[in-house]
């Protein structure tokens, strides 16, 4: 699924790196615990989270993630947007809640990491 499809499905607003919106996302992960993200995510994934701090961006950067979606209209700080720009990670915010946002993406074919890698 392309990041642009995720934007449409979640009616999300893109906050930075819009030039990468045609990149492909292979899986998704919804979590506010960054250590869980670091344990289980692989390959061009999208992170959905309600957590707002710089470590969200660094975690995604370490995992080579392509996009972060902040749920419940959460907004990253300017510092986070700068970090994300440097890493080329698309940041988005959506009004949808975590459960609904994950459900919409899953229903549209974007599977969880466990279903790809076991």
């Amino acid at each position: 699924m392309k990041i642009s499809d995720i934007k449409e499905l979640l009616e999300a607003e893109v906050l930075c790196c819009e030039e990468n919106i045609d990149c492909e996302a292979c899986s998704a992960c919804g979590s506010d615990m960054m250590s869980d993200v670091l344990a289980y995510v692989k390959d061009q994934a999208v992170l959905l989270t309600g957590l707002v701090n710089s470590q969200v961006i660094r975690t995604a950067q370490m995992m080579d993630m392509v996009c972060i979606v902040f749920v419940r209209s959460k907004m990253p700080t300017e510092e986070m947007i700068e970090l994300s720009k440097n890493a080329g990670i698309v940041l988005m915010t959506t009004k949808k809640r975590m459960y609904e946002a994950c459900g919409k993406l899953y229903k549209s074919g974007l599977v969880g990491n466990g279903e790809i890698h076991g």
Binding site: M33, S35, D36, N53, S54, Q55, M62, M63, E79
Partner: protein
Amino acid sequence: MVTVRYMDKLIKFEFDVDGTDFTSAGQASVNVKKHLRQLGLSPEVIRRVSIAMYEGEINMVIHAKGGKAEVNVYEDRVEIILRDTGPGIKDINLAMQEGYSTATDNVRSLGFGAGMGLPNMKRYTDNMEIESVLGEGTTIKMTVNLN
């Protein structure tokens, strides 16, 4: 950051990990990732080294008020050494169990402290050794093989 070239290793990076600012935690790992890319290592190796070091860096900030990180790149492996002078780990076997954590609620609210740090470091490396003395500090040495 200090970068030194030695005869017996391709390259060595050294960093001071600032333990006073959670926001900046992870900067050393970001730097290492950048340098390893420049050295042309495989994306999988770079990812494993970066994640293991990042978890270690976060641990140093959360538990030990910072410390020193050293990354040595050899022909056949990358070695990460993290040294702190924090309180030490009371029971290493317990600390290695997924879900066990002594982190505060404040740390959990920041997205860490789920008891996954040390297990993740072990998961992403080929070898991990922990030396810890209560009241003196902890040294963790991790190795990721290149082949």
